[in-house]
């Protein structure tokens, strides 16, 4: 069942600019060439009965209900598969058509129960609508169904499949094919025995189904239906908002009744997601009302004390007094704040404003520090802007797609569906990853090349690719010389041409066969539009920034920037990583990426905020920890970030937090970091506030309130009240006023307003006088920095190397069903798919250690030890192990180290030398680890 406010036009829109005029039921109608008669009629206000057609899927022509009459033609063609033609005269209603349609519907009804009153789709069932339109209440054919009595499949935690209600229209099968690209569904059997089957007649939960829900939305009856519809009843209202999970930033419609969300449906008009969603965005919103939500502010003098529930005024007053005391005692720069990539632009802007203007320090940072900070530095220095270059739809014009250090089908599934559509149309794929991600080989998709490099050797690989491009004469010299600093290009060519960068020279280091590198380089440089998409496998290295620069070098040298189908595209991890960076969350720059030492930029903010601002960079997150340990940093306001679980070298993090005198955690739940907090301020979920998120394609989209904040205040209101308690005047009545201030102070946001966002749906910045409706493709004609700049990207091996003591290299990532540290998804039914972290290990490495699939194994590094279960797989190469970090009981970051990117201090999560041993008694192992952490670990105290 599609969105309650969606008007289905039956078939997809035609893309042609040419118009054709025809006559439908006597009225002239003009539509783009290629439009179906069904859609043309719908656009003219005439709904032709249909069952197998819906406008998100290609016309199928199987149900025979949408028949029409066309003057001069024999028979009764299906309007969904018949294209409008100039001068055509169409009749959608006639006695003969009604007779035919009645016969069709009677046949369907013969195999479908008519107890509609008890059906969750009652009022929204297309078969019910068709029957009502034709006045059918029964069937002359009698019951011939064989599905009666078949037990519904309720294995999926979010939806049911009831074969009894299925009319075998194939919409679900086609949705899985055309929209999601998983091809998990099929129709098995014949005649009355036909039924939808997931994989090889498996329950949905056990099948290949990824639970994106596209099939559920496509279903015209209640055969596939959300369980929440059955338990909560039909929704009454819908609000468009933006998903709070990954950086794709899907536009969703929250359908609700009485402030209770009944279900989420992707917005067909959503610019980022084109009407699609994934299991997290569509279904995993239950955390917002989970019983673990903390809705009362709490304070305590010491982190060993029990929590004491207090009112907002007391909590905020306590915080303000403590911050002022600490500043008075230890200096202005002894405090700081952290903005969150899970919060809105307006909220992150306010937190950095509070730190800079109310606390008068630049000690503000954001969780982007630990993911995409190298993207900001690398792209700013080479291209001139700290952001990806394209819209997601650009991939549909790419001929060669390079995916580096990203796993889109798990991390960015809705983009992955679009990418797979393009690959199935014939675009080539190159994957550069230590692990065989699903895209390497998935139904109807196979990578032309998989460069399975050793963790930590990204820069050697990108240099080898560039070496081939330059030395084989494949570079676009005319483009590079016209668009880039010529001297930097010449120097870079000389640098990269050196034999030490050749695939043959780097093969012993990277482990990638030279011939494969050469083939991939030739393909990218000569295969047409080349588009690069990358993730944290690029950035979370000691050379993360170097790698980003290497990617930009390669794209500039091959002319793959500045138009659709090409580009350099970071796949951002969290919903608002881009936005939190844009909003001035980094300690060295204001919103719009202007350095704090820039007197002109600083003057703008000083004038607007009526304060004198610091002109020196502040501390980054890891620097804050170091300063806390030396006693010069004592208080931290953390909005929506769980350091203890997400940051590397957990012991180091907890030691630093325990050394502070006032740690304030603002979050939905008592997260791990709250164990070290003195103040807990309840956060508001994305359903409880207004604002905007900015996704990986620089797209600003509205977040709209569906329910009141459970704790009474939205996050921006809490920050505002804290600023006021600190004595700094901050007064906004609505987040739109904050956005107005952002627009006044940030050149790339100058043309953004809530009014324009409501009118256009979304806006890709820069949005200003030169681009009043935004900028889908950046660097068209020239680079933002003027001339692009090439950087020499020497490969420098990480100090984290395998040794005889730690012979394996651990790398980390995430899976489709869980999300980052799991704060949200662990509190949803997504646990049905994955309820623990597992260590992927090659069977040969496992065998030599006596490890079998499912065994508990201890993973030890120089930083610490953890225990997880092993999963034997050839996805990882020999010598490499892989795990996720979704579950606190695994404590994966106990083993990651303090190594970080040279430019930004982004942690090197992706390379940790470890040893893996079979563990007979995991609890004993854990206890030993806990004992070793011992006295320094402060256990969570109970609420008083």
């Amino acid at each position: 069942m599609y969105a309650i406010d969606h008007k289905d036009l039956g078939t997809p829109a035609a893309a042609s600019a040419e118009q054709v005029t025809l006559e439908i039921d006597g009225a002239a109608v003009s539509v783009p060439a290629g439009t179906s008669l069904m859609r043309a009629a719908a656009l003219a206000g005439t709904a032709i009965p249909k069952l197998c057609a819906t406008d998100s899927l290609k016309a199928f022509g199987s149900c025979r209900l949408c028949l029409v009459e066309i003057e001069g033609r024999k028979g009764f063609p299906a309007s969904c598969t018949t294209t409008a033609a100039p001068g055509m005269k169409v009749r959608t209603q006639s006695p003969r058509l009604e007779q035919l349609r009645r016969g069709v519907v009677e046949l369907y009804v013969s195999d479908h129960p008519l107890d509609c009153d008890d059906c969750p789709a009652n009022g929204h069932c297309e078969l019910q609508d068709a029957a009502a339109t034709l006045g059918i209440t029964g069937s002359r054919y009698g019951a011939g169904a064989t599905q009666r009595g078949v037990t519904p499949d309720v294995s999926n935690p979010y939806f049911t499949f009831n074969p009894d209600l299925c009319i075998v229209c194939s919409r679900c099968v086609r949705a899985c094919d055309e929209i999601q690209g998983t091809l998990a569904l099929t129709i098995e059997g014949r005649g009355f025995g036909s039924r939808v089957s997931a994989s090889e007649h498996q329950p949905f939960l056990a099948s290949e189904c990824v639970s994106c829900g596209a099939c559920v939305e496509a279903c015209p009856t209640a055969a596939l239906t959300e369980k929440s519809l059955a338990s909560l009843g039909a929704p009454a209202e819908a609000v468009s908002t933006t998903c709070g999970y990954c950086g794709v930033g899907c536009s969703l419609k929250a359908e609700f009744r009485d402030s209770t969300v009944v279900r989420m449906v992707p917005n067909r008009a959503g610019h980022a997601n084109q009407g699609h969603a994934c299991v997290k965005g569509r279904f995993a919103y239950g955390y917002a009302t989970h019983k673990d939500r903390v809705t009362k502010p709490m304070i305590r003098e010491r982190i060993t004390d029990p929590w004491r529930e207090v009112g907002w005024d007391e909590a905020i007053g306590f915080t303000a007094r403590e911050f002022r005391r600490i500043q008075q005692q230890y200096g202005r720069n002894a405090v700081g704040g952290i903005t969150s990539s899970r919060c809105t632009n307006e909220e992150t802007f306010l937190v950095q404003k509070l730190v800079r203007a109310a606390l008068l320090t630049n000690n503000v940072d954001t969780c982007a520090r630990v993911c995409h900070s190298p993207t900001g530095y690398g792209l700013k220095h080479t291209l001139g802007e700290s952001a990806g270059t394209q819209a997601f739809t650009s991939v549909m014009k790419a001929d060669v797609v390079v995916v580096i250090g990203a796993n889109p089908t798990d991390g960015h599934p809705v983009f992955a569906s679009q990418l797979k559509r393009r690959l199935r149309q014939g675009a080539k794929l190159i994957v550069i990853d230590p692990r065989a991600i699903d895209l390497v080989r998935t139904p109807h998709v196979e990578a032309a090349a998989h460069l399975q490099l050793r963790p930590g050797t990204n820069v050697a690989v990108i240099n080898a690719l560039a070496h081939v491009v330059v030395t084989e004469g494949l570079a676009k010299d005319d483009y590079a010389l016209a668009r880039c600093e010529q001297q930097s290009y010449r120097e870079w060519k000389e640098f990269i041409s050196d034999a030490r960068h050749s695939p043959e020279a780097t093969e012993p280091v990277t482990g990638v066969p030279a011939a494969r590198v050469r083939e991939a380089a030739r393909l990218y440089a000569t295969g047409g539009n080349g588009a690069i998409y990358y993730g944290l496998g690029v950035t979370e290295h000691s050379q993360g920034t170097t790698m980003v620069m290497g990617i930009a070098n390669l794209a500039m040298a091959t002319g793959n920037l500045g138009r659709e189908g090409v580009g350099v595209n970071p796949l951002r991890g969290q919903n608002n990583v881009q936005g939190s960076c844009d909003m001035g969350s980094f300690p060295h720059e204001f919103s719009g990426y202007r350095h704090v030492s820039d007197a002109a930029a600083r003057g703008l903010f000083e004038s607007a905020w009526n304060v004198t601002l610091a002109d020196e960079p502040g501390l980054r997150i890891p620097n804050m920890f170091e300063a806390a340990l030396d006693g010069s940093f004592r208080a931290l306001y953390i909005q929506g970030e769980d350091f203890v679980q997400s940051d590397p070298n957990t012991q180091h993090v907890t030691d630093a937090l325990a050394a502070m005198e006032c740690v304030v955690v603002q979050d939905l739940f008592l997260v791990e970091t709250a164990r070290y907090a003195h103040v807990f301020l309840p956060g508001a979920s994305f359903l409880e506030k207004d604002g905007t998120f900015t996704n990986a394609e620089r797209r600003i989209s509205r977040v709209r309130k569906v329910m009141e904040p459970l704790a009474g205040l939205a996050d921006w209101e809490v920050t505002m009240r804290l600023a006021q308690a600190l004595g700094y005047p901050m007064q906004y009545s609505h987040p739109s006023e904050i956005m107005d201030e952002i627009a006044r102070l940030t050149p790339t946001f100058r043309g953004v307003s809530y009014e324009k966002l409501d009118r256009l749906g979304s806006i890709q910045w820069p949005c200003n006088d030169a681009a009043p409706e935004g900028t889908p493709t950046m660097h068209v004609g020239s680079f933002v920095r003027g001339k692009g700049k090439f950087y020499r990207t020497e490969y420098v091996a990480t100090s984290e190397r395998s040794t005889s003591r730690f012979p394996l290299l651990l790398t980390t990532g995430r899976v489709l069903f869980q999300y980052n540290v799991g704060t949200q998804t662990r509190r949803t039914k997504n646990l049905a798919w994955q309820a623990e972290d597992r260590l992927e290990i090659h069977p040969d490495d496992a065998e030599s250690r006596g490890i079998e699939d499912g065994d508990w194994v201890g993973v030890a590094s120089r930083a610490g030890e953890i225990v997880v279960r092993a999963a034997l797989t050839r996805r990882v190469a020999r010598g490499v192990v892989y795990t996720t970090f979704h579950f606190p009981e695994s404590g994966v970051n106990l083993v990651t180290t303090e190594n970080s990117d040279w430019a930004t201090n982004c942690p090197e999560y992706k390379v940790t030398a470890v040893e893996v041993v079979k563990v007979a008694q995991p609890e004993a192992w854990r206890e030993r680890t806990r004992a070793e952490r011992g006295a320094r670990v402060h256990r969570a105290a109970p609420v008083a």
Partner: protein, 69 residues
């Protein structure tokens, strides 16, 4: 601040800029990076360490730190 950690960070920065064949330009870029991205107490500590001989700092990192003034 943990001096050894700062030394390691400064060396990592120098390792990137060492790709510049002009040592003077490389040192200048190291210094510029430290000025733009290191908080004053970090710069002060690494400067103090360099002044005390700069044990552990690579030659380029040491040269860059000394240009901090």
């Amino acid at each position: 601040m943990n001096t050894q950690r700062l030394v390691a960070m400064a060396n990592d920065i120098a390792a990137f800029f060492a790709a510049d064949p002009d040592p003077a330009a490389a040192a200048e870029q190291v210094a510029t990076h430290l000025k733009k991205f290191w908080e004053p107490r970090m710069r002060e500590e690494i400067r103090r360490h360099a002044g005390a001989g700069g044990e552990g700092l690579s030659p380029l990192a040491l040269r860059g730190v000394k240009q901090l003034g």
